[in-house]
Symmetry: C2
Subunit: 214 residues, 2 copies
DNA sequence: CGTTGCATACCGAGTAGTCGGTATGTCACT
DNA sequence: AGTGACATACCGACTACTCGGTATGCAACG
């Protein structure tokens, strides 16, 4: 029988899929326990694989962590922020929407475990330059996506002229990460709602047309 | 030679001092490497003590971590935020001052290692309920200090009426922690300056007297 | 001389990483 | 088409080592 026709064949030898499964399981473990807290045995147990498979695809635990940043976390940022902003015709409104829909994350692992990007950055940046650079690249993609969106909003007249897009982008990232971090620690959803409400109301002061404000 | 006449007597038996030295060394190690990353042997090496001393004063590594939160980190928050706000006659201005003087932390360990409070919270809150509760208490002291200051500013006319003090206090904490976190990861001081400038300009919009604004 | 305040030696669970082995494709050659 | 030769993909027992914790010793103080 040809392997291509079979749907399941759970022990198929498919290097790409195996690598992706390890990556995804490692991401979940890192999100839950941090990089140091991640146990390779747990990753393997959740995938049903063994040490051999892991060390065939990744030379070390550190390399696995790097791959999680470059392939999994980067993709999340692109999907949640960068692409929606690029495709939006009202970029500032899209930003505000994204901020406000943060408090719909009730029950989401993000509210109890925090932001995967920020978690890793806080844990590993001071300890490992390789992590720091890779995580900084992801932050910069996010940040530059915001700057582009804000500039477009300025040019289109959606946003007031004269605002410093770089500053605004920076504080959006900072406030969002701060909000998620507080929520994770307080474990009460009011904190998240307070944060997003305050941030959104601040961003609304940047909208050009006074009719929409206040 | 009698040890008592020696000026140093570095092996003096002073339980209180010994405990404090261990606490302070543990705080520095946790700040640098996180709780999991802290090695008790490193703590002991930096103090010149040994296992016996540590386990005489603290029943476990976890208890040592709890004590660092309750005694060291709590005290820092009181010193940097709560007491200055309580003693200030212009609370809103004091808050803005504190935010703006954050970017004078160049070279300070905080810019490279992050905020000790937030670091521990991000690392340990999802993993250990004991840490979470203790860290949450510290956050609440900070937060309620801000709320009290904002309410006083409202009553004295320093701040606009009608603002939600709880929301503002929350986003101040979130933004400050977010700023420090971004700075630590980016390792460029411009990020910190962008953050503090944007946050301060936002806080200035809350000042009552329009003469001072814009 | 008993208690306090540590030092020293050691234990053992856990953990990243190794290494010999094996089953499965895949290509070359006839 | 069949068969050897080799690469690919993965298994799993084993190792070396770290690190929190414990048991015991011992000097100083009151």
């Amino acid at each position: 029988m040809s392997t291509t026709l079979n749907t399941v064949s759970n022990n198929e030898r498919n290097a790409g899929r195996t690598r992706a499964r390890i990556l995804h399981a490692a991401f979940k473990e890192i999100h839950r326990s941090g990089f140091h807290g991640m146990r390779l045995n747990d990753v393997l147990e959740s995938t049903g694989l063994t040490k051999g498979a892991l060390y065939y695809h990744f030379p070390s635990k550190l390399a696995l962590g790097y791959a999680v940043v470059e392939e999994v976390i980067e993709e999340i940022v692109l999907k949640l922020w960068v692409r929606p902003l690029n495709e939006s015709r009202n970029p500032l409104k899209t930003i505000i929407d994204r901020v406000e829909c943060l408090d719909q994350l009730v029950g989401d692992p993000v509210t109890t475990l925090g932001c995967p990007l920020n978690n890793l950055a806080q844990e590993m940046s001071p300890l490992d330059e390789g992590f720091r650079q890779r995580l900084d690249r992801v932050f910069q993609h996010w940040h530059s996506g915001l700057v582009n969106a804000l500039e477009r909003a300025k040019n289109s007249g959606e946003m007031q002229p004269g605002v410093n897009s770089t500053q605004i982008a920076t504080i959006i990232v900072a406030a969002v990460e701060g909000c998620i971090g507080l929520t994770k620690n307080a474990q009460c959803i009011e904190r998240l709602q307070d944060c997003t409400a305050a941030l959104a109301s601040y961003l609304r002061t940047l909208v050009a047309n006074p009719a929409g404000a206040r």
